[in-house]
């Protein structure tokens, strides 16, 4: 390599020009004075940490990992990646039982689902919430998502034969939420894709994408999941299948966090993994398929773009699909983090910050007064439903109910 050939440094954090726009856009900075902000925590802090790991600041845990800093950075600095990588490298504190519980979506789901009615009843109780708040520091305002007695995987296996009849096929990375909590979203996806003439099949044993493990310091577990998922995805790719998803965060994690944070090579599968709304939009746009919608469908829909979807740059596909439905009055909500950030907002110590971050969004929803909110992210959904009282539907579910 020629000396100093690439005028930009090979060390990404050195490309920071200190313009501080990341800190100006960070949702945490205005609500939590203990958080040093993305520039300080990221590229600035990195130089000190390289000098001595002693300079690692525990306050980095306040980062939501929403990636808004990276979206706005004009220098292409991977600010949030630097922060998360520093947490992985330097934070020696062990995850608490609570953090393991919150992060173990797969494990908890498998455990809870057979007893879904009982578990759902229990977690909804005020007394249970008070106990969780006192013992595990899970904020009492939060309600755990309900578990579904029948998982999505089982359902799709039962319908595998009819799905196989479609000439065009996709594989579906459904994620924990669809499997354990809300199989209806998976069923809605199958309905919409079938209407496009596409059959849906399961991957050969997907696991939780691991996003909650990453943010709760369970890097080793997350890496194991990542390696497993990449190999499973590779099998689908080898069969020539596109893999669609409905969770923006799972998608983002597999595409970007695996190689950047977990150092798991996903080059062979990255491009094959797409959000279903993008897949559908492109199918319609190319003229390869059409959808027929009900004529009596009417809804005033406020759409919230999840942070990770903004980072992917794919919010547009969900938005445009919703606009295609006749009878939809579409309102795009301002870009604003809802504040939940996965398991972050469930933690008692983050509750106030979490709600303060989302407040402008909640206020706007109330001002707009839609029939319901549309959003591609399950944790945004919990936050918005709890904080605004409005129902949140996934764009795929909206498409499904509007189909003729």
């Amino acid at each position: 390599m020629t000396l100093q050939e690439y005028t930009a440094s090979a060390h990404n954090f050195e490309e920071c020009m200190k313009c501080t726009i990341c800190t100006a856009y960070c949702p945490v900075v205005p609500v939590n004075p203990r958080y040093p902000g993305p520039k300080q925590a990221g590229p600035d802090g990195e130089r000190l940490r390289l000098k001595d790991p002693y300079f690692f600041n525990k306050a980095l845990k306040y980062c939501l990992n929403c990636k808004r800093c990276e979206v706005v950075c004009p220098s292409g600095v991977k600010v949030a990646d630097i922060i998360q990588a520093a947490r992985i490298k330097y934070d020696r504190s062990k995850p608490k039982i609570r953090d393991r519980m919150l992060a173990g979506t797969d494990f908890m789901g498998t455990l809870a689902r057979p007893f879904a009615p009982i578990v759902n009843g229990m977690t909804g109780l005020g007394a249970t919430k008070a106990v969780l708040d006192a013992t595990l520091a899970i904020d009492r305002h939060r309600t755990f998502p309900k578990y579904s007695a029948h998982g999505f995987e089982g359902w799709l296996k039962r319908h595998a034969r009819e799905q196989a009849k479609f000439e065009r096929q996709v594989a579906y990375f459904h994620g924990c939420y669809v499997n354990y909590n809300f199989p209806q979203l998976g069923k809605d996806l199958v309905k919409v894709l079938n209407a496009l003439g596409v059959g849906v099949q399961l991957l050969e044993g997907e696991k939780c994408c691991g996003v909650a493990m990453i943010s709760n310091g369970m890097t080793r577990e997350a890496t194991r999941h990542a390696q497993h998922n990449v190999s499973v995805l590779q099998k689908a790719v080898d069969k020539g299948l596109t893999v669609v998803t409905t969770s923006s965060t799972c998608t983002f994690t597999i595409r970007d966090e695996y190689p950047e944070l977990l150092k798991v090579d996903n080059a062979g599968v990255r491009d094959a993994l797409v959000l279903a709304t993008r897949y559908i939009y492109q199918a319609l746009e190319s003229g390869a398929a059409t959808l027929r919608f009900r004529e009596d469908y009417h809804a005033r829909i406020a759409y919230h773009t999840p942070c990770h979807l903004e980072k992917l740059g794919w919010g547009l596909f969900s938005q445009e699909l919703l606009k295609m439905i006749p009878g939809v009055e579409f309102i795009l909500l301002d870009s604003n983090c809802c504040g939940i950030a996965g398991t972050y907002g469930f933690k008692k110590e983050n509750y106030e910050a979490s709600q303060a971050i989302g407040k402008p969004l909640f206020d706007q929803v109330e001002a707009v007064n839609p029939d319901f909110i549309a959003c591609d992210c399950e944790t945004c959904k919990w936050q918005l439903e709890m904080s605004t009282g409005y129902t949140v539907k996934h764009p795929i579910s909206i498409l499904a109910e509007a189909l003729a």
Binding site: Y6, A10, M17, L50
Partner: protein, 531 residues
Amino acid sequence: MKRNDYDVIIVGGGITGAGTARDCAMRGLKVLLVERHDIATGATGRNHGLLHSGARYAVTDQESANECIRENMILRRIASHCVDETDGLFITLPEDDLNYQAKFVESCLAAGISAEILDPKEALRMEPSVNPDLIGAVKVPDGSVDPFRLCAANMLDAKLHGAQVLLYTEVTEFIKEGDMVKGIRTFNHQTHQSAEYYAAITVNAAGIWGHHVAEMAGVPIGMYPAKGALLIFAHRVNDVVINRCRKPANADILVPGDTVCVIGTTSTKIPFEECDNVRVTPDEVNLLIEEGAKLAPALASTRILRAYAGVRPLVSADNDPTGRNISRGIVCLDHETRDGVKGFISITGGKLMTYRLMAEMATDLVCRKLHVDKACETATLPLPGSERKSFKEVAEQIWENPTTAQKATAGRLGTGAARIKDTSPLGQSLICECEEVSVGEIDAAIQRLDVSNLVDLRRRTRVGMGTCQGELCGCRAAGLLARAHGCTERARADLKDFMTERWKGMYPIGWGDALREAEYTQWVYKHVLGV
């Protein structure tokens, strides 16, 4: 004694002058130190900041090597807050002669320097950034030392022991009575006033400028200014000093210092007229990058912060008028015995590493002349800030759960960090974001360390030494100085000087990220701040 009478006047506010002032003051002398600029503006602040083990000189100069290792061990004790005990490697690359290694190790051991041959793989584990093609490595007790901090701490301790320090005060003339130097006439560049100061002994500790100082006193010293250029990289690529195991040559030392690392140096003889304004040439920059990348290949793609150069005060041996036989050793001249000029001595040559020994030698001579019989204690008594070994202990003791900035403060000031009491949100807010310097730390420096402008402030706090090179901190620090001095206009002019000085160092390496940042900074200053 009259107000302007002293036992000893020291000319020069570099590390030698500061160390000598401290030593003299600790032996009970009444001391005045005059410096025409600020502390550490010459070679003191313009070198690698390498805490030599002496290994570099072991083969060629056993005496210097032995001085280095002894002073190395002393500085670890007395200046712990200025020293980073990193250790060093002497690596052999395929193009070097591996036979040199045996001779090198033997010479190190003879000089009292521990030198351990490492397997190249082990060396790579110890320092992952080192050139993986290395065929040999020797571990030695090198380290890094912050010369600004070291100089400021010596100056502070001299003052705590009663010395008076006059900065921006230039010697214009010696007051002589026959063959006797009785004192100095000075001009203060800030107040524009002249003054006279008297002392039994005047010590010339002016580095390369000592050549002219001696001339002014009527004695010749054959000095040879040798420019050395260096590059600063934007982060610590290496945690261990990396040297080449061969005869000392250009650009063969890479030193991790604080948040950066420094490659150097070159060696070019320059005329005396250039000593006040040395510039780094494109050829020097190329050579430094090229040779540096052989030590640590990552340097080829690491952002460069700035380039700078210093001038070594080399002295030709007295018996060699041609100047060919140049010593890098310590030169302590008693001009009474050498030239018949009484009351005047010069302490020069030497290195940053051996400043304390130089100071001891000069002070011993002063004491002999003044018939003062008190032993030197500078090798045992710690400098202010170094009363405790570990800055981490200091930080944890002062603050419960210290912030990154508080940890950085403890790293810079050692136990002196306890003086920064301003724990208000304003006091804790950052002036320099790259190096994490708080308002409280700046205010403390202004009050305690003779700061008259932003460049002075930089030398004492690292403000403006980080990646942004003053982009964010310059204007904020100017605000604090304006408050302290009660003059906005002065701070405005000062800010301009400060930024010009920052740009001077960025100019030779003006490409890539450094250029982008410089452009952005210019935009901020010109169009946003209207400076």
